[in-house]
């Protein structure tokens, strides 16, 4: 782990909403190739931190760097183009589009996508880009096992398949860092363990993954490292075993005051 360079560096990042400090001076590094979990009780600031990384919410102070490049202050689409792919907490697919068209938006975001290209005026570069989009989308669908449903309307997929569709859409953009926001929400035990295996496989292929979860079990099962947020602060950072023994973490999750000072 020591030899790995940091892909994502979060440096003293703070976000205030009026009088509320949702994320309070959080610092963290995610190494290239790591599979890191971010957990915390409801309202801990996980989603806010996630939105700060992906640029949806601007930081109040602090710096975030991706592969050495500062990304704070960039628009969400610029951050996505620099290689951060994401899924959403409440499953945000494009329901009135086909499965293939959904996934094609992932790589499309990384092309120049000029309006004159569909009129046949894009030349060889546009044609090459179109081929690349098709290939990336097909590969991503094959990767999650949705090739057979490519021409179905996304709204007609089962809940579990829609989850994979969302992941495929992010994968098709060939991200350097994949952030999954509560991917196990709404899945049963069997589906969750399938998903766990899939995430581990992706990581095994070299993809850096940050997993944001409310539920600890999935994170503890597959992550090499776990960060814990509570009330906007990072209260623990270590291996799953270390974090599970951490008194502050237990206090945050169980809410027992007298253990909090430990």
């Amino acid at each position: 782990m020591v030899a790995m360079s940091a892909l994502l560096e979060i440096e003293a990042v703070t976000r205030r909403f009026g009088g509320l400090t949702a994320v309070d001076a959080v610092s963290a590094e995610i190494a290239q190739g790591a599979l890191v979990g971010l957990i915390g009780p409801n309202g801990a600031g996980k989603t806010t931190l996630f939105n700060l990384i992906s640029g949806v919410t601007p930081v109040t102070s602090g710096t975030i760097r991706l592969a050495g490049e500062t990304i704070t202050g960039l628009e969400p689409y610029q951050i996505a183009r620099r290689g951060i792919g994401r899924t959403f907490q409440n499953l945000r697919i494009f329901p009135n589009m086909t499965v293939f068209d959904n996934v094609s938006v992932g790589p499309l975001g990384h092309t120049r996508n000029f309006w004159w290209e569909p009129l046949g005026l894009g030349g060889a570069r546009a044609a090459a880009e179109r081929e690349q989009i098709t290939k990336s989308a097909r590969d991503a669908l094959a990767r999650v096992g949705l090739s057979a449903e490519a021409n179905e309307l996304a709204a007609n997929l089962s809940y579990g398949k829609r989850k994979y569709l969302e992941i495929a859409r992010a994968l098709a953009g060939r991200p350097r860092l994949l952030i999954l926001d509560e991917p196990a929400a709404g899945l049963n035990e069997r589906e969750t363990s399938e998903l766990a295996r899939f995430i581990r496989e992706l990581n095994g292929e070299g993809l850096t993954v940050l997993l944001v979860e409310h539920d600890m079990s999935l994170v503890m099962e597959i992550c090499q490292r776990v960060m814990v947020l509570a009330s906007g602060r990072k209260i623990a950072d270590g291996t799953p075993a270390e974090v599970q023994r951490d008194a502050a973490v237990l206090a945050a999750y169980l809410g027992t005051e007298d253990e909090a000072h430990a």
């Binding site: 628009e75 938006v105 996508n113 290209e117």
Partner: protein
Amino acid sequence: MKPLALIGTVLAVAAVTAALLLSGSSYAVQVAITALIFVILTASLNLVTGTAGLMTLGHAAFYGVGAYAAALLSTKLGLSFWVTLPLAGLVTAFFGFLVALPTMRLTSIYFAVATLAIGEMIVVAITNWTGFTRGPMGIRGIPSITVFGHEGLTVNLLVVLAATLVSVWAIWRLTHSYYGNGLRALREDDQCAEAMGLNAVRLKIEVFTIACFFAGIAGALFAHTSGYISPESFRFGESILLLTMAVVGGLGSVPGSAIGAIILIVLPELLRGAGNVRMVAVGVVLFLCILFLPKGLFGEVSALAFARNQLRRAGLGWSR
């Protein structure tokens, strides 16, 4: 488009055109010209509203900008139709671009209200700037279309048909391409589209500008085929008619736009004998359509789901 459907469409268009020309009815040809102009308008509106999800309530005003640009360029500067046609498109596109710049950050129905207001402002400006536009009196004596010295209804019909086919082809390409997928992604969830790397604001400005270009083309065709224009043709009611055509044909569908426009131009003409009741018939068509064909004839999204989505994004929605 599947080859069979394409061949069928070409044959049907050719057959109807031939029948119109052979019938010798100038009234029928005039109705056909109007219908074709509305096909361009509806298809361009549908690109913005049905495909990209930006509800615009001022499209008829941009149609007016194109018509006035063509009329003024030809009557004041003596330019021929072949020059005013592209210029009207470009002038209208530029207008659309200027409108889009500040309004594209507005969400859903706030954008719709802004386009409604801007549309009315354009019409009021045309109506009151009498020194330039002759105001409510309108502009008459707009030279008609000439092709190698020929003019007349037949020429008008064929030129308008050609312009319609080119416009519909371009809008079809824009809709059915990866670019179109990007537009659909904006309609479905623009924040999520941004997280995929799409520059939503740029795409919205582009698609609005493109749609205004085609509205301008339609305006020039109208000015030169009718010879007379006045502000009355470009009011809010016309924008609503265009929206109705798009909903009946199907939001996001190019063939739907064409069929919706043709139905809602031809139907009132067929009912002309019924007097003012015919406008009630238009309302009934819309009502029945939303009731029994929520996605219109060929639509991708149901009109009700679309409206709900617009309200939800504005924070005014009822839950799913």
